[in-house]
Structures are given as structure tokens and as C-alpha cells.
Amino acid sequence: MDDLYRDYILEHYRRPHNFGVLEAPTASYEGSNPLCGDRITMMLGISDGVVREVAFTGRGCAISQASASLLTDEIKGKSVADVEKMTPDQLLDLIGIEISPARLKCALLSLDTVAHALADDAAKKVEAGGSGAGAGAS
């Protein structure tokens, strides 16, 4: 009955997929929306340019947490290059509900946090002089 709070959104909020921690993530980042107090830590296990494992922890509104649950399902098994190419619109399609402008930050926090984790990881690899940072590796 409520456009925003469909059953599957609330289901992802109550029982988020991939919620937890990775023992040894190769990339991680903590993102937050200071204005509303949404907070998400994304942990990625990347090898050979592919996101093999992903987990997140966090707290916040139903939209931010359901978004993280849906996004982590989506990116697991994808190449880093493909994940990097993901746009906000693609995530919003995945969430599948109309998000008002005031809630966009909540909905997009998960993707923003993944992007930061990947960027940090790429920067680390460049710093270490290693090969295969980010997109080139896949």
C-alpha cells in the first residue's frame, strides 16, 4: 500500500543479505550521511579483478539498509570494472521504488560507499606499484 515501504524493501531491511563482516577484505570503506545518521561499512574480497565476496554492516533507515542489501547481491561475482561502471540510476532501478529527492542520499549511500572502497583499493595498488589496479585487471 505504501509505495516506499513495499514488503520486499522491509524484508531487506529486517533481514539484509550479506550483512556481516569479511575476515580479510581486500577493500573496505565506511560511508555515512551525517545529516541523518545512516552509516554503512562495505567490505569487498577482490581477486583477479572480480568481486568474489562482499559484506556490509551498518545502521540507518530502511531505504539505506535495503539498498545496501540489494546492491551487495548485485555486485557479488561481478568484475570490478562493471561495478565501477554502475550508475545511481541502475541502483535506483534495482531498489524499484520511487525515491523522493530528500531520500536520494539514503538510497545511494551504499553505492557511494562501494565506489569509495574501490577507489581506495585502486589507489593503494598504484601506490604499491602493483599491477592490475581496478578496471585493467578484468
Binding site: 505504501d2 541523518c36 545518521g37 545512516d38 540507518g60 533507515c61
Partner: protein, 425 residues
């Protein structure tokens, strides 16, 4: 510490009662509906208040009939604008029982007033090792300007802690005063907990320790009688837009001799007496602090708001909002299972209630209430340290004003039950 200090000479007759249902017709916005056709249930007055027709017409009247600049023109329209602007100063002074309208400095809001004091008075009077005492319940506006000041001057900030009920701990305040702070700055009424602080007692204690006192009255002036002389404060700040006036209006009151001794905050036109290429002489107070063309229409609107409030009688306003908060504190726990309410009992509280529903983020609460036309605030209400104190990411807040009616609190209770139903289905 109990609050007895905020009443003044205007408390004389038996307190009249407000008829909120009747006065709602003064607020055109209350007859509007949202996108779903639901009538407006406005419970976010602590963020900004609705504006009565008298204020709307005062702003409109200036723009239509005499929109000249002030303190400059020789022609009739300019004199009328200057007259209306200066009349507002007198009205605002009367509202808080300031002894002299020239002690009222017009600013955009309480935030600007505090920044003015921090830059002008603060940078001249706070030095290395000097301390400023604040409280744990301050709005960011009465915290961050002081952080900047002590960082620059190598001073210190100390904080009066609060109890779990959201009341300041006077015994710790007493200890902090042994540090001989230069300034004590505190909120008269908390925008998150609703706590009304005992302004006069705290001011007396601070003065006895040799400190000056700044009071943030943004959440007090709109809701209760405030008498700056009875309180004995040195600086008192508030916003026009929270007291039924327009955004962009606000006031700093300070004792004349303090204003005289303070250097200008902003420089430019109107704040000078003489300008030469390499030096200038400042205008008298308050004009010394009012550089550039102000928001004349908004400030005139603030004068109309002051008139409107004084017409209702601030005792009646306070009694009305006390009734509302008493009603809400009784009704919500009974009608909304699991609701967690923050802040003190009604006797120490102004007209607002911050709360959470178990396991539901306040943004989701506010979003679902919005469908029923109910406007509440969700977030940290510009009081992040206070939320940290209670280990909360955010809260939802319902806040009241003269036009709030008990039926709207009933609607809130129904709306919150609906939120719980959606999340627990």
C-alpha cells in the same frame, strides 16, 4: 534549580487562555492540503514557525507601498521605511523587556547573533587559557562559533553535563565555575529535549564567578515570557522565523556598555559615521553592527510577529504549550506501544517532544507520517553531541506553537501506530 526567572513586568493580570482553534484562521497555510489532499498537520515549529496574516501583510505592505532603503533617503517613502524598521526595534525590545531599543541589533537569525558575539566580543576578550562554559545540550549554533574561537585563541571549552532525564547538573556547573570562565553560554530551552533551563539562577551563579552570560533564546522567546532584565543576562539572541516572523530576521540583545566596547563585526555602509581613505569612525550602537542593507521587509515582519505574540500574551502562549506537551507526554506512551520519549517531565519542558519507535529509523517515521500530512523533524536537529550523549543516531521530533491543537497530537498518535503497523506487518 527551578525556573522562575523568565517572567517579568508583563505578568500582571490573570493569564488569559488562548483559543488555538480560533487563531488558526490567522494562519492561511493551515487551510492548505498536501499532494494527497490531507490537511496540514504542522508539528515542526521548532525548525521554523508558520506565519500569521499580520506578518505576511506587514512584509507585503513594505514591498508594495514603501520599499525604500532605510537610514538614507530624505523622501517620504524612505522615512516611512526607516520609521517602520526602527519601530520594530522598539517592539522587539518590548517583547523581551530590554531597557532600550538601541540595545537591539538586527541580524539574520540567532546563529548570526552568536557569531557576532564570538567574533566581536570573543576575539577581544578571550585569550590563551581562558575558558568558556557551555552545556551538553547546545544547538550547533551555540557550540561551533565557540570552537572556532578557542581554537584560534588557544582557549578551552567546558560543558555542563545533563542527567538521563535531560536536565543540567547544577552541582557540576558550580564546579566548572571554579575555573573562572570568561563566558557562560547556554540555551534557554533545548531544541531536542525541550528542557527549559533556569536562566536566572544560572546567570546569577555565572556572574558570581565573574563570567558574562550569553543565552540562546531561539526556542524560548516564541513560547514563553522572557525578561532579559529579570534574568540579568549580558547577551540574549533569538530568531524571528521561529516566533511567527519571516526567515532572515533575528535579534541580538546586549547590554549597552558591552555593545559600545565591542568592535564592529561586519564593515560597510550604514555602520560608519565618517569614512576616510585610511580610517573610519563607527556609527553608534546598534548601527555599528548593521553593515549593509538588511532584510528590511523580514525585520518589519518580525515586528508584526512581536505585536501578534504580545497581543496573545506570552503567559497565555506558555500555558497553551504547557497544556499541549502535558497532553502529548500522557497520550503518546499510551497510544503508541514501545515509543521512547526523551527529555524531562512536562514541568521542566517547553512545547516539543523528541522520540523514537523501536527498530524504526526516524527518517522512515517522518516519511510515513508525511503521507498523512503530518510534518515532523527527523535527524539530529543540529545537536549531534546531544544525540551522542544518548547514543542515538537520530530522533524524530514533534514541536508545537500557538496554532497547534490537541487534535494534531491525536493525529500524530494515529500516524505513529500506522508506522508501527507498516514496519511490523
Amino acid at each position: 534549580m527551578t525556573d522562575t526567572a523568565t517572567t517579568g513586568p508583563q505578568r500582571q493580570t490573570a493569564p488569559a487562555r488562548l483559543d488555538p482553534h480560533l487563531l488558526r484562521t490567522d494562519f492561511p497555510i493551515l487551510s492548505t492540503v498536501n499532494r494527497l489532499g490531507k490537511p496540514l498537520v504542522y508539528l515542526d515549529s521548532a525548525a521554523t514557525s508558520l506565519k500569521p496574516l499580520a506578518v505576511i501583510e506587514a512584509v507585503d505592505g513594505y514591498n508594495r507601498a514603501y520599499s525604500a532603503n532605510i537610514h538614507r533617503g530624505i523622501y517620504e517613502m524612505a522615512e516611512r521605511a526607516t520609521g517602520a524598521y526602527e519601530e520594530t526595534r522598539a517592539k522587539v525590545a518590548r517583547l523581551i523587556n530590554a531597557p532600550d531599543p538601541r540595545e537591539i541589533v538586527f541580524v539574520r537569525n540567532a546563529t548570526e547573533a552568536i557569531n557576532l558575539v564570538a567574533y566581536s566580543w570573543g576575539r577581544r576578550n578571550i585569550g590563551r587559557g581562558d575558558s568558556i562554559v557551555l552545556t551538553e545540550m547546545e544547538h550547533h549554533a551555540n557550540l561551533v562559533p565557540w570552537q572556532l574561537l578557542v581554537q584560534e585563541k588557544d582557549g578551552d571549552l567546558e560543558f555542563v553535563p545533563i542527567t538521563d532525564d535531560g536536565v543540567l547538573r547544577p552541582e557540576v556547573f558550580e564546579v566548572l565555575l571554579h575555573l573562572r570562565p570568561k563566558l557562560v553560554a547556554f540555551t534557554h530551552a533545548s531544541n531536542m529535549l525541550g528542557t527549559i533551563n533556569p536562566a536566572r539562577e544560572m546567570t546569577e551563579m555565572a556572574h558570581a564567578a565573574g563570567a558574562l552570560v550569553l543565552i540562546d533564546g531561539a526556542q524560548a522567546v516564541p513560547h514563553m515570557p522572557v525578561d532579559v532584565q529579570a534574568i540579568g543576562a549580558d547577551f540574549y539572541v533569538f530568531s524571528g522565523h521561529k516566533m511567527l516572523g519571516p526567515t532572515g530576521s533575528g535579534a541580538l540583545w546586549a547590554r549597552r556598555e558591552l555593545l559600545e566596547a565591542m568592535p564592529p563585526f561586519m564593515a560597510g555602509g550604514d555602520m560608519i559615521r565618517e569614512v576616510h581613505l585610511r580610517r573610519s569612525e563607527w556609527n553608534d550602537v546598534p548601527y555599528k553592527f548593521e553593515a549593509g542593507t538588511p532584510d528590511i521587509a523580514a525585520q518589519i515582519g518580525m515586528g508584526a510577529a512581536a505585536d501578534y505574540l504580545m497581543g496573545l500574551g506570552m503567559d497565555a502562549v506558555a500555558a497553551h504549550e504547557k497544556d499541549l506537551v502535558t497532553y502529548a507526554l500522557d497520550l503518546l506512551p499510551r497510544e503508541v506501544p514501545g515509543i521512547q520519549i526523551y527529555g524531562p517531565a512536562a514541568e521542566h519542558r517547553g512545547g516539543l517532544v523528541s522520540f523514537n519507535l523501536p527498530g524504526i529509523h526516524p527518517h522512515d517515521v517522518a516519511q510515513i507520517l508525511d503521507r498523512s500530512g503530518i510534518c515532523v523533524r527527523a535527524g539530529h536537529h543540529c545537536a549531534m553531541p546531544l544525540h551522542e550523549r544518548f547514543d542515538l543516531a537520530a530522533t524524530a521530533r514533534a514541536s508545537f506553537n500557538v496554532y497547534t491543537i490537541p487534535e494534531e497530537i491525536d493525529a500524530l498518535a494515529v500516524g505513529l501506530r500506522e508506522v508501527s503497523r507498516i514496519f511490523n506487518r
